[in-house]
């Protein structure tokens, strides 16, 4: 089974996101960039599928500027076999990313497309479902367990009311949740090995995808800040404040 993993390069969650000077975006100029943590979990799962003999190869794909190549090298050091960079220097909304990855999938013909359920920068939670729609494939979102079974996948999903288990046919798209696995640490020998693994660069034009969109960000702003409140010395004071000041109990 060939597995295609899609990853996004995002601002490190430990870095505070700041509004760009023009007020219409986020300043990424000096922030540390990392692989979206959900996508890292997706990649770890793909590598484990290969180690167990279920997957035959793991290809990783990302869309973004040339610096995205660094994230792909990280993916190769984790254990992916090959990487594909779809180079684009403008910000790409999820629908465009889904079209690009669907176009890559049409060339690669994977049995399974794995990616994170959302990216921690725009929190859209769209790309996986959109790839599934464009490719007319079944989807399993928010996976916390993935078990291959007789040419199908049995997937446990984190849903509103608990855990839902479904069976989907292959090929399929699966988006992963936090509790699926814990990604491995990268070792120095693997970083060195990753330098020799193939990284191919494509353009949206080569994939036949128009990257113009009908959505634009008018402005980005900071929400009103919550001010820290008062310290209460004991439970009795807390109860009094909740009853007589806040009037919420």
């Amino acid at each position: 089974m060939k597995v295609l993993v899609a990853v996004k390069r995002v601002l490190d969650h430990a870095v505070r996101a700041r509004v760009r000077a023009d007020g219409t975006g986020v300043d990424l100029a000096n922030g540390k960039m990392i692989m979206n943590p959900f996508d890292e979990i997706a990649l770890e799962e793909a590598i484990r599928l290969k180690e167990r003999g279920t997957a035959t190869s793991v290809t990783v794909v990302s869309c973004g500027p040339v610096s995205t190549g660094e994230t792909l090298r990280t993916a190769l050091a984790m254990g992916a076999d090959r990487a594909i960079l779809v180079q684009a220097d403008i910000e790409l909304p999820p629908l465009i990313v889904a079209k690009l990855i669907n176009a890559v999938a049409a060339r690669e013909v994977p049995q399974l497309i794995l990616l994170g359920k959302q990216a921690i920068d725009d929190d859209s939670n769209q790309t996986g479902q959109m790839i599934a729609a464009l490719a007319d494939l079944p989807q399993a979102t928010f996976a916390s367990k993935i078990e291959p079974s007789d040419g199908t996948l049995v997937v446990t999903r984190e849903v509103d009311g608990g855990l839902e288990t479904i069976r989907i046919t292959l090929p399929a798209v699966v988006t992963v949740d936090l509790r699926l696995n814990e990604p491995r640490y990268i070792t120095l020998p693997n970083i060195l090995k990753a330098k020799k693994k193939p990284l191919e660069t494509l353009t949206p034009a080569e994939l036949g995808i128009d990257v113009s969109s009908r959505i634009r960000t008018l402005r980005v702003s900071e929400p009103p800040r919550r001010r820290g409140g008062i310290k209460v010395p004991d439970v009795a004071t807390l109860v009094d404040k909740l009853k007589n000041e806040a009037r919420v109990i």
Binding site: I120, Q126, G128, Q129, A140, F142, D160, D177, I215, R226
Partner: protein, 310 residues
């Protein structure tokens, strides 16, 4: 033209977030229609027709729709999508699973998890775990939105008298099959719609202690129970109680955080609560920077005292 809300339900009851989604939909201009796609969901359609402000309830009834699988519900929505200016879903796990599938089929640039309607084509939505707010404008003919329930009031469940129309259910996709749902039945209010939430964190130490400390207080206050990611990861509480960036987003009248340090990802899920109480023995916890009332105390003695004082 009209706006279509896609109802979330379990064939017996509408999910709470559906009511908040209707409020957002009513701000978009045009009649509000609601699609109830299910199996034997007559009680749901009756409830939907009674909601204030709904003009038409569309009812698709078929075995293929029993479990709300994304592939089938998507096809059901697409069958009527062209009649609408906006397709509006609750930003729950269910709605988030289906909306992008519909949007991609319509070549529409979905706007996720809106928290305000500026105009029928312009919306506010949180990004970077709610640390920033983006105002986005969409020029698609059919706009696909998901709505953050905590940012909109619930529509009144009574006072409406909608027309009910039935439509043919689409067939099963043959590609996805429901096996089972493992849930913990609870008499407590739904987390995302509760007016009071009592949440526990890693400091509880075990599942037994979580239950022993958190549940009696929640029951006394008629509250929903929440948990931090750390508490869920450690197995103290089930996944569907997780409050945060990637879990449930809540904005109750009162949020009590017990033994929760307040990681950015947790704050993203509860910082819009009206009143926040934090009980923690570490005065440097980030939760104290946003809580209205901070009690620095050992939770194992403070919470029983609080329970006794209520």
């Amino acid at each position: 033209m009209a706006v279509l809300v896609i109802a979330q339900h379990d064939n017996a009851r509408l999910a709470g977030a559906t009511y908040n989604t209707i409020t957002a939909a009513a701000m978009l201009g045009g009649d509000v229609h609601i699609l109830v796609a299910g199996s034997g969901a007559g009680a749901v359609t009756t409830a939907a027709a009674a909601i204030s402000g709904i003009a038409t309830v569309l009812w698709a009834d078929g075995e293929s729709l029993r479990y709300g699988l994304a592939e089938v519900v998507c096809a059901q929505v697409l069958a009527i999508a062209r009649n609408y200016t906006h397709l509006v879903f609750p930003a729950t796990a269910w709605g988030k699973g289906i909306a992008p599938r519909v949007a991609a089929r319509l070549d529409s640039f979905q706007v996720s998890e809106i928290t305000a309607v500026v105009s029928p084509d312009t919306f506010e939505r949180p990004i970077y775990a709610g640390n920033l707010i983006a105002t986005v404008q969409n020029s698609d003919a059919i706009k696909v939105l998901t709505v953050r329930a905590a940012a909109f009031a619930a529509a009144s469940p009574a006072g409406g008298n909608a027309v009910q129309e039935s439509m043919a259910a689409v067939p099963d996709s043959g590609k996805s099959q429901f096996i089972r749902l493992d849930s913990t039945p609870s008499e407590r209010p739904e987390l995302s719609a509760a007016t009071v939430v009592v949440s526990g964190g890693r400091a509880l130490g075990s599942r037994e202690k979580f239950d022993e400390i958190i549940l009696p207080l929640a029951d006394k206050l008629g509250a929903a129970v929440g948990a931090s990611r750390a508490a869920v990861d450690a197995g103290f509480a089930p996944n569907d109680l997780q409050v945060g960036q990637t879990g449930k987003i809540v904005a109750p009248q009162l949020y009590i955080a017990i033994g929760i340090s307040g990681a950015v990802q947790h704050l993203a899920g509860m910082k819009d609560s009206k009143v926040i109480v934090a009980i923690n023995n570490d005065p440097t916890s980030p939760i104290f920077e946003i809580a209205d009332y901070c009690l620095e105390a050992d939770l194992f003695s403070a919470v029983p005292q609080l329970l006794a004082a209520l």
